[in-house]
C-alpha cells in the first residue's frame, strides 16, 4: 500500500503465494462509491496457484478502479483507490531519497563531515602514479573526502600532464599513447604481486582421467558375486578350521574292469555315463556309516553329528566352482548316485542350481582326477569336518606278494578338521573307503 494520491489509499495486488508474480482480476465485488469495511472482499483474483478474494486492508469508500476485470497485472500493482474514513491521512511514509550527489572534491570534503582523505592513496593510485610519473599533489581528488581515485589519475594522464612533469622514462610519450598505456594497464588483469600464495603445493603423482600411467602391465577383473562367495568361504574355512591332511593309495584294478564291462550297457539303458565317482561315493557313504564322526560339525562346546549323509560335490568351470549336494546319499544305490551326479553337474554348469540344490551338505567329495590331478590339498567345505578328493586313476607297477604287477592305482586325499578328527579315526575311515573300493568285483550290483 502506498499513499500517493492526495485523496486515497492505493490497494495493490498482494503476494498470494510463493513464486507468484502476477494475478488476474476476475471480478470486482465493489464498485466506485461503495462503502468498504476493513477485511471486506473487494474483488476476486485468479492466479496460477490460487483463486482468492482480495480483502480490503482499510476501511473507506472505493473511489476508483484502476484495473478492469480480465486484466492481468504484476504483484504490487495498484488496482484501486480507497478513500479512508475516520482517519486522518497519515504523513507521507516514504522518506525522501537521501540526496547523495557525486562528490565534487572542490574543497576536499564531501560535506557530510567525512575526514579529509586527499592524502590517503589507494594501492591502485600509487601504482598508476609511479607508472606514469604523476605527482599526486598536482591532482584534485573526486572521491570521498577529496580522495584521489584511480580514475582521477587515469583522467589526468589521459588529459596530458602539464609540461615539465614527465620523468625521463615517459618524457616523450604523447598523451594519446600514454592513454593507451593506461588502458593497457587496466587490462593487465592478473597478479602483479610477487607473492604467489595460491600456488598449489606439490602433490603426489596420481592417475588422471584418460591418462593411463605408463608401463602399467596389468589389467583388472571385476570380482563377481560368486567369486566373492568363494573367497570369503575359503578364507573362513582356512582361518577357522585347523586343517590336517592325509592320503592313501587304493588299488582299483577290479573296479576298472567292472566299470569297463558295464558302462556301455549302462549308457544305453540309462542314457548317462557310469562314472568312477558314483562307485567312490558309494564307498565313501558306506564308510561314513561306519564312522559317523566324519559327518559332523564343530560347535565349540559340542560336536554335532549329522544323521543324514548329504554329499557335497565340487563342480568346477574355468571361472568358478559350485557345490551341489546329493541329499541322503546313503539311501541311493550306485545307479541312483550316477544319475544324481549327472543331473547336478549339468545344472551346475548351466548355472541352474537352485538354493536347495546347494544346501545341507555334510561331507564333500571332489573328483580332482577329472582335471588330471594326482595329489591335492583340499580346503574343507566350511563348516563340515572333512573333504575327500578322488585323484586320477593311473597304471603303476606295484609290489604284490613280492611280485611286481601293473595295477590301476588311485590316490585319495583327505583334509580334516583337527578339532573334531585325529589321525587314527581318519586312518580307519580311509582304510574302510579303500576296502570298499577294492571289494568291487564282477558281482557288484549297480541297483
Amino acid at each position: 500500500m502506498k499513499q500517493t494520491k492526495a485523496n486515497g489509499t492505493e490497494i495493490v495486488v498482494p503476494q498470494l503465494a510463493e513464486s507468484l508474480v502476477s494475478a488476474t482480476i476476475s471480478k470486482w465485488l465493489k464498485q466506485p462509491g461503495d462503502e468498504v469495511r476493513e477485511y471486506e472482499a473487494i474483488c476476486e483474483l485468479i492466479t496460477d496457484k490460487v483463486n482468492a478474494e482480495l480483502p480490503s486492508p482499510v476501511e473507506g469508500t472505493l473511489k476508483q478502479i484502476l484495473v478492469t476485470e480480465g486484466q492481468t497485472v504484476e504483484v504490487g500493482t495498484a488496482i484501486c483507490i480507497i478513500e479512508e474514513t475516520g482517519r486522518e491521512r497519515p504523513e507521507q511514509e516514504e522518506p525522501a531519497e537521501s540526496p547523495v550527489t557525486r562528490g565534487t572534491g572542490v574543497d576536499g570534503y564531501d560535506g557530510s563531515g567525512a575526514e579529509n582523505r586527499s592524502h590517503r592513496y589507494s594501492p591502485a593510485v600509487l601504482k598508476l602514479a609511479a607508472e606514469h610519473g604523476v605527482d599526486l599533489k598536482m591532482l584534485k581528488g573526486s572521491g570521498l573526502g577529496g580522495r584521489i581515485t584511480r580514475k582521477d589519475v587515469l583522467q589526468y594522464v589521459q588529459d596530458g600532464k602539464p609540461e615539465g612533469q614527465q620523468p625521463d622514462a615517459v618524457r616523450n610519450v604523447s598523451p594519446a599513447s600514454a592513454a593507451a598505456v593506461a588502458t593497457e594497464a587496466v587490462h593487465v588483469p592478473v597478479r602483479s604481486t610477487g607473492l604467489h600464495l595460491t600456488e598449489h603445493p606439490p602433490i603426489p603423482k596420481i592417475e588422471l582421467e584418460g591418462e593411463a600411467e605408463e608401463g602399467r602391465g596389468e589389467y583388472l577383473i571385476d570380482v563377481t558375486p560368486i567369486r566373492n562367495t568363494i573367497a570369503s568361504r575359503t578364507r573362513q574355512s582356512v582361518s577357522e578350521i585347523p586343517h590336517a591332511w592325509t592320503m592313501i593309495e587304493v588299488d582299483v584294478t577290479n573296479l576298472v574292469q567292472l566299470r569297463n564291462s558295464l558302462k556301455d550297457e549302462f549308457k544305453r539303458k540309462e542314457g548317462i555315463n557310469l562314472t568312477y565317482l558314483s562307485f567312490l561315493l558309494k564307498a565313501v557313504v558306506n564308510a561314513i556309516k561306519d564312522y559317523p564322526i566324519m559327518n559332523s560339525v564343530w560347535a565349540v562346546d559340542k560336536i554335532i553329528v549329522k544323521r543324514d549323509i548329504n554329499i557335497s560335490l565340487l563342480v568346477g568351470t574355468e571361472d568358478f566352482v559350485l557345490t551341489p549336494v546329493i541329499k541322503k546319499a546313503d539311501q541311493k544305490n550306485i545307479a541312483g548316485l550316477a544319475r544324481e551326479i549327472d543331473e547336478l553337474a549339468r545344472k551346475a554348469r548351466a548355472g541352474k542350481l537352485s538354493l536347495s540344490d546347494t544346501e545341507g551338505g555334510t561331507f564333500t567329495v571332489n573328483n580332482t582326477g577329472s582335471f588330471g590331478s594326482i595329489l591335492s590339498y583340499p580346503i574343507i567345505n566350511y563348516p563340515q569336518a572333512a573333504i575327500l578328493t578322488f585323484e586320477s586313476i593311473v597304471k603303476r607297477p606295484v609290489v604284490i606278494q613280492d611280485m611286481i604287477a601293473v595295477r590301476s592305482m588311485v590316490n585319495l586325499c583327505l583334509s580334516l578338521d583337527h578339532r573334531i578328527l585325529d589321525g587314527v579315526i581318519c586312518g580307519r575311515f580311509l582304510q574302510r573307503v579303500k576296502e570298499n573300493l577294492e571289494s568291487y568285483g564282477p558281482d557288484t550290483k549297480l541297483y
Binding site: P123, L144, P189, S192, T193, E209
Partner: protein, 327 residues
C-alpha cells in the same frame, strides 16, 4: 529465439537432455504426477513414463543416495530437492559420497549426478523455503555448483551439468522462476560450467554477483547511469569452480569491487571472491572490497515486512553501488 521464463528454461533443458540421452532420468518429491511443486518437471511423466520420471518418498537422503548410486553405475540422474532448504538430510550423501568417489577410487568411479535445488527468498516462504545453502557446499572440492540468473544461462548450464562427468549442484533462484524471462536459442547449446559472464560493461565500479541479485544490480546500474556512474557487472554463474580469471579481470577493470549475494555475509561466496582479489591484485585496488549480503541471522523471517527488510533489493544494491562509486 524464443522468449521463455526461467522455469521453462529448466523444463526444456531437462526435456531435451532426456530426449537426447536415454540414461537421463528425473527423481524427486512430486516431480512426476504433479510435475514438481513449481512445475519444473511438468509433462515429463507423460512424455517419458514413470521409469524415467520417478516420484520419491519424502526423504532427501534417499533421493540423493539413489541418484548417486545410479550415477555411479552410469546413469545420468537429475535429482530434485523440492527446496534447497530440504537438502540438509542429503548432505552426507552429497559431500561424503558424490564429491569424493572419483578421488577415493583413483578415477575408477565417477558420479555424474545433477542435484537441482530451488534456493533463495522473496516469496514469503519463511524459514524453510527461503534459505541459501550454497556456502554449505561451497568449500567442498569435488562438487561443482552453479547458480544461473537468466533463462539463457539456466538452459545452457543445466545441459552442461547433465552432461558433466561429475556431481553438479544446480541452484535455481525460485523467485526468478516466473519473474525472469529472456531470449533462448532454439538450437542446442551449453554454457560451460566455471565461466562467469560480464552482464554489463562499465568503468567506475565492478559488481560481482550471482542469482537473483544479478537483476537487482542490473536495474540499479541502469538507474545509476543517469547519475553518471558506470557499472561493470560480472555474473559468476558458477560458484564452484569460481572463474578466477573473470573475477580478477572484472576487479582490475575499475579497482572498486562490490560483491553482492543473498546468502549471508560470513563465510559466503563473497568472502572467497574477496580473498582471491586481495591475494592476487592488491595494487590494482582503489577502494576496500565491499560486500552486500544477507544479514548474519539464522533465517528468513516469515513476516512480510521483515522479509522485505531481510532481503536485498534494487534500492539496497543501488545504495551500496553509489557509495562505492563515491569513495
Amino acid at each position: 529465439m524464443a522468449v521463455i521464463s526461467y522455469l521453462e528454461a529448466i523444463r526444456s533443458a531437462i526435456r531435451e537432455e532426456m530426449e537426447r540421452n536415454e540414461d537421463v532420468f528425473v527423481l524427486g518429491e512430486d516431480v512426476g504426477f504433479k510435475g514438481g511443486v513449481f512445475g519444473a518437471t511438468k509433462g515429463l511423466l507423460q512424455q517419458f513414463g514413470e521409469e524415467r520420471v520417478m516420484d520419491t518418498p519424502l526423504a532427501e537422503s534417499a533421493i540423493a543416495g539413489v541418484a548417486i548410486g545410479a550415477a555411479m553405475y552410469g546413469m545420468r540422474p537429475i535429482a530434485e530437492m523440492q527446496y534447497a532448504d530440504f537438502m540438509l538430510p542429503a548432505t552426507n550423501q552429497i559431500i561424503s559420497e558424490a564429491a569424493k568417489i572419483r578421488y577415493r577410487s583413483n578415477n575408477d568411479w565417477s558420479c555424474p549426478v545433477v542435484i537441482r535445488a530451488p534456493f533463495g527468498g522473496g516469496i514469503f516462504g519463511g524459514l524453510y523455503h527461503s534459505q541459501c545453502p550454497e556456502s554449505i557446499f561451497f568449500g567442498t572440492p569435488g562438487l561443482k555448483i552453479v547458480a544461473p540468473s537468466t533463462p539463457y544461462d539456466v538452459k545452457g548450464l543445466l545441459k552442461a551439468a547433465i552432461r558433466d562427468p561429475d556431481p553438479v549442484i544446480f541452484f535455481e533462484h525460485k523467485k526468478c522462476y516466473q519473474l525472469v524471462k529472456g531470449e533462448v536459442p532454439d538450437s542446442d547449446y551449453i554454457v560451460p560450467i566455471g565461466k562467469a559472464e560480464v552482464k554489463r560493461q562499465g568503468t567506475d565500479i565492478t559488481v560481482i554477483t550471482y542469482g537473483l541479485t544479478v537483476h537487482f544490480a542490473l536495474e540499479a546500474a541502469a538507474e545509476l547511469e543517469n547519475e553518471g556512474i558506470s557499472s561493470h557487472i560480472v555474473d559468476l554463474r558458477s560458484l564452484q569452480p569460481l572463474d578466477k580469471e573473470a573475477i580478477l579481470e572484472g576487479a582490475a577493470k575499475t579497482g572498486k569491487v562490490l560483491i553482492v549475494h543473498e546468502d549471508n555475509k560470513s563465510g559466503g561466496v563473497g568472502a572467497e571472491v574477496s580473498a582471491i582479489i586481495s591475494e592476487e591484485m592488491l595494487f590494482e585496488l582503489d577502494a576496500p572490497i565491499m560486500r552486500l549480503c544477507g544479514p548474519d541471522v539464522p533465517a528468513m523471517p516469515i513476516s512480510p515486512p521483515m522479509e522485505k527488510f531481510f532481503m536485498l533489493n534494487k534500492d539496497k544494491v543501488k545504495e551500496a553501488m553509489r557509495k562505492l562509486a563515491l569513495f
